[in-house]
């Protein structure tokens, strides 16, 4: 029987059926559900690592240790894991190793839209790209076969619309793979120059063999219908192209996007009059055709940026979109916001009030950058709050008096600790705020080393960021732990620590309001008699507080979580708290 599987869920099913025994990943939209779903199978050991580099190194170790292993991440995660990725290409694997990387064309939930296919090419690794959930499962299984047959890590590339689309999948049973037994082999596994040189040759030789495989593999296929138009596509662009052109075009559908099947490409190009490469982001496949001297179109018609759709193809390659209604007036945008009751809000309120320069980082708390809080100056990549603040202050020492870095608990574990070590080692004058909401919230509530639970739900020792700070050498007197929903207290602490010449860490500790254990048994209301309409409460940017009748602030009881932050800002005592 076929059932609806999310693309990511289908990858997890593929892991299960392939007999995968080890998964280590770091969350990141749109890849997260692969690992969450894999963790539900008791046969698979699955963990959240503190970051992608650790996860991939663990997976490399696990495949040598005899288990088929998987490591999942979002596109920028592969930047973090690039070091072991390139080396894994030299060492090869033991049991199979598959690396899932999910790109986010259109930047639904990302800070850039890089194209991971370049990693396959530069690391000299094979990369498969499924276009629906059924292929997600099949390609995952096949990736393990290839990994073992060619002694290589295999990349599985997904994109948001494949990862987060549900389509039909037929399940099969789990098959335990042939056992792999580790034997010491320094020439293969110890990468120092003398041993690595032959391994580079081995990687190049393997790539040649993989190229030959790509020519005949079922992963790559020509669907021939008519010769007027030939479309080259992979992943979800196949779906868009089929949707628009159906049997009016012929297709070269690549399930393996690296290495490139040159003969097959020539053969296809020779059969059609016009050749268009339809691929999101970079002209990766298009450049392969050009390198072969084959004329083709692609980015001259389509876009380097953003996500494709049937609309884009209709607009650029056909005669426009379907007739449709048009709403005649401007529509206010609805950007994502900090939730009602979010513990990050109290902190940003104070940072804004003190008009501080804020070196931001990545997580829900990046949303403090938008109106009305407008409280963040920079956000680069995970961990950069700490290190960019450090550099800024070394370059511009007077900045320390009015600058802070903000970093979430998961991000601190991911790559904030090394930055903190740098602050301590290089005698920074800096104030770092760790926003400890006891969860990895942005990506949908994953456990992390601070939360006291593993991915499988076992209770473990939760690592306290303050202990790490102490170990790094921050003076315990300047490690301050406080509740972000006590703005006055927080403000006083901030003033003291900004005045201190040295490294200070402020930990704002309050669990994410969306966590089940957080009671939402209270409700705030504004008493219209006492309200002077000063709108101080509106400065919080709480979605539950809006301008109601008579243009006066009101609280939407369906959204209010009773966090009571607003009651602390009202000088007139007009906001009351009651039991729900």
């Amino acid at each position: 029987m076929k059932t609806l599987f999310l693309g990511n869920e289908a990858v997890a099913r593929g892991l299960y059926e392939a007999g995968c025994g080890f998964v280590s990943s770091y969350p990141g939209t749109p890849s997260t559900e692969i690992t969450e779903c894999a963790a539900k199978y008791s046969e698979i050991y699955a963990e959240w690592a503190p970051n992608e580099k650790v996860a991939l190194e663990a997976a490399l170790g696990a495949c040598l240790g005899g288990k088929r292993a998987f490591c999942g991440m979002k596109h920028v995660g592969l930047n973090v894991a690039a070091d072991p990725l390139f080396i894994g290409a030299y060492t090869g694997v033991g049991a199979g190793l598959v690396i899932g990387v999910a790109d986010d064309p259109g930047m639904h939930s990302s800070q850039n839209e890089q194209d991971s296919r370049h990693y396959a090419e530069s690391a000299k690794l094979p990369m498969l790209e499924p276009s629906d959930s059924a292929e997600c499962k099949e390609f995952t299984k096949l990736a393990f076969e290839l990994s073992e047959a060619f002694d290589t890590p295999v990349l599985l590339r997904l994109t948001t619309r494949v990862s987060h689309a549900r389509s039909l999948v037929e399940c099969a049973d789990r098959q335990e793979p042939a056992a792999f037994t580790y034997e010491k082999d320094p020439q293969k596994h110890v990468m120092m120059p003398a041993y690595a040189k032959p391994r580079h040759l081995a990687a190049e030789d393997r790539l040649r063999r993989l190229s030959a495989y790509a020519e005949t593999s079922d992963l790559n296929r020509i669907e021939f219908h008519q010769d007027a138009l030939g479309i080259v596509c992979a992943g979800n662009t196949y779906n868009y192209a089929k949707e628009v052109f159906g049997d009016r075009a012929s297709y070269l559908k690549l399930g393996m996007v690296h290495p490139f099947p040159e003969q097959l490409a020539r053969q296809f190009a020779g059969k059609v009059k016009r050749l268009i490469v339809i691929e999101e982001l970079d002209p990766f496949l298009e450049n392969k055709f050009r390198a072969l001297g084959i004329a083709c179109e692609g980015k001259n018609l389509l876009s380097l940026c953003g996500e494709y759709s049937q609309d884009l193809l209709k607009e650029r390659l056909e005669n426009g979109s379907n007739p449709h209604h048009v709403y005649p007036d401007p529509i206010p945008p609805r950007p994502p916001v900090l939730c009602p009751g979010c513990p990050h809000r109290g902190l940003y309120y104070v940072l804004k009030k003190l008009n501080l320069r804020v070196f931001g980082d990545i997580g829900c708390y990046t949303l403090g950058a938008v109106a009305p809080l407008n409280a963040i100056d920079t956000c680069f990549c995970m961990g950069a709050s700490v290190s960019a603040m450090h550099g800024f202050e070394k370059a511009s020492p007077e900045a320390a008096k009015n600058s802070v870095g903000v970093i979430g608990d998961s991000t601190f574990m991911h790559s904030g600790i090394t930055g903190l070590v740098n602050l301590c080692y290089n005698q920074a004058n800096a104030t770092l705020i760790i926003l400890d909401n006891s969860i990895t919230a942005m990506t949908g509530h994953q456990q992390n080393p601070c939360t006291g639970y593993t991915l499988k739900g076992e209770a473990v020792h939760g690592i306290l960021p303050e202990k790490i700070c102490e170990g790094a050498g921050v003076d315990p007197k300047h490690i301050r732990i406080t509740d972000p929903n006590e703005p006055e207290k927080l403000e006083a602490i901030l003033r003291e620590e900004l005045a201190f010449n040295g490294v200070s860490v402020i930990i704002t500790r309050r669990p994410c309001v969306l966590l089940k254990q957080v009671k939402k048994d209270k409700l705030c209301t504004i008493e219209s008699d006492s309200c002077k309409n000063c709108r101080a409460c509106m400065k919080l940017g709480c979605p539950a507080i809006y301008l109601g009748g008579g243009k006066r602030p009101q609280i939407d009881g369906t959204l209010c979580t009773g966090c009571t932050l607003c009651t602390k800002l009202c000088k007139f005592g007009a906001i009351r708290t009651q039991a729900r």
């Binding site: 609806l4 868009y240 449709h324 007036d329 950007p335 994502p336 949303l367």
Partner: protein, 195 residues
Amino acid sequence: MNTKNIMIVGVGGQGTLLTSKILGNAAISAGYDVKVSEVHGMSQRGGSVVTYVRYGAQVYSPVIGLGEADLILAFEPLEAARALSYLKKDGILVANTRKIDPMPVISGAMEYPQDVLERIASLGVDLRAFDAMQSAQNAGNEKTLNVVLVGYLSTLGFFEESALRDALCACVPEKLRDVNLKAFELGKNAEVSAF
């Protein structure tokens, strides 16, 4: 059968994903190929969210293009306006009348447009609007807003009512079944406003 396209739009946190799950399951039980495209991640934090459900003999694209939706279920009026261009000229737009201010309105940078649904109706759109939040509250749980809208959808001929009911029961936890069935019933019998 030609592919049917249903678009579900709302505000992150309103439970649009459950609706698409129910519709997806109902479409499978009717023997169709199905694709459902969801939004996870950033926009779930109170931003605009769009989910697509497509079913038919064979479905390729997971998304719906301009002028392709047979039906839009809008959980909020402004989101109805935002999605309007995706509706087929003769498609049906079902909208909850309860507004949620987006942050630019809350922060005072912009105004919530006046009479959004009236404007839509005046374009000649087949608009079916009612206070689905009130129905959810009457059912006893505001979170059942999504199921109220499924209940209304059951009257539009896209799926057998029983198939929707079964899919609903399969998608919600046992202890929430009764309140959801009540919400379904209230949605089914909702009186739409005239514009």
